[in-house]
Symmetry: C2
């Protein structure tokens, strides 16, 4: 076979992994496409969003989008990963701050973590809708699952030294559940306007604190 390289005229080797953009203009365009996709997800929902729509809103023609993303799902996937990375950064900072002080210290500051996470989410265009899309499309669910597992791994690492008597699997399960409930509460606040965000986060924090401290007692 002569020539594994793409034909000279072919802009896109279909299905090929996209190289990261080389120029500043391109990096900005890519970010803009993601921002626009988030906003549109909120406006029209995952069942109506389209690549043509995203490109148009970003001031581009459709083929330009395909320079950055292999297909429609790749856009949504990148959008999801960008949000989760930002959330993970919050967690990392929180762990660095409170992790070394032990379980009780962490349990007492869960409210901070929830609040900071909520702030990051709120800053992202269409953030709730991104999270919901990640939940609702069979092609995307793995992203959220992987991210929540990653978060749980980090929390487990941080807690394990202080609860030596508990097998890691049990600890992991407990924290996995806590992660899910924390995110669920955060998302609920976007649609339920009959309860105050502060009160709700305080309640959740109290429940998660209970679950964490309960761990240390059951050694």
């Amino acid at each position: 076979m002569a020539g594994q390289r793409a034909r000279p005229g072919a802009v896109n080797a279909p299905g090929a992994v996209k190289r990261p953009p080389q120029q500043d203009r391109a990096r900005q365009t890519r970010e803009r496409l993601l921002d626009v996709a988030g906003a549109l997800l909120a406006e029209v929902g995952i069942e109506r969003i389209s690549t043509n729509m995203i490109a148009a809103r970003a001031g581009l023609t459709p083929p330009a989008l395909y320079r950055y993303f292999g297909d429609k799902y790749a856009v949504l996937e990148a959008l999801g990963r960008r949000l989760m990375e930002r959330q993970n950064a919050v967690l990392a900072a929180w762990l660095a701050h409170h992790g070394p002080d032990g379980i009780a210290a962490m349990a007492d500051h869960i409210g901070d973590l929830l609040a900071q996470n909520a702030a990051v989410t709120r800053a992202e265009p269409g953030a709730v809708w991104i999270l919901r899309a990640l939940h609702a499309s069979p092609r995307l669910v793995h992203i959220r699952l992987e991210s929540h597992r990653h978060v749980t791994d980090r929390l487990t690492d941080a807690c394990a030294p202080y609860v030596a008597g508990i097998d890691r699997e049990k600890l992991w399960s407990r924290l996995r559940l806590a992660v899910e409930l924390g995110f669920a509460a955060d998302e609920m606040l976007y649609e339920e306007d009959r309860i105050s965000a502060d009160a709700a986060l305080a309640n959740v924090a109290a429940m998660l604190r209970f679950a964490m401290l309960d761990l240390t007692e059951s050694v």
Copy 2:
């Protein structure tokens, strides 16, 4: 204007509310369409499901679907409502059984409620995907919200007599959160296979029990 009634030839007055089917055959067809829609939601997701697809899988031609549902979203809405009604029936039975025995009795049997709810969900074709679709489409979110509020109202009614010292709004907020977390935990079990369903539900039940009993103490 002569004649508000539909033209003789017109099968569908567009946008008209559909009357409930008159014949047995029709009732079965309607149920079949909903079952099929649930299954397809699980297979292809809300972004790919289509009316033509639903009709074909149900052994019908596309126009037949429009005899039962005003448009595509009406199908999904009916599907969502059917599931929520079944879940609400579980709650009603549970409340009738444990409600009269007070807060502590209810708190001690939250695990039962979660388990029964999970069973109902599991029996419905594509149930998780229905719940997720209800979360992910702007046109559908209100269904889930209304249902969760309804559930919270019923719980608040059941609890209020035993916590006379607490203002109803605070009670409602606390229970609203509990409802959300209960459903979130249930849904998580469908995608997270690294933790056991029983253990997770037991954990959630313990947290919710804590939240409920905490209410009685804070009078």
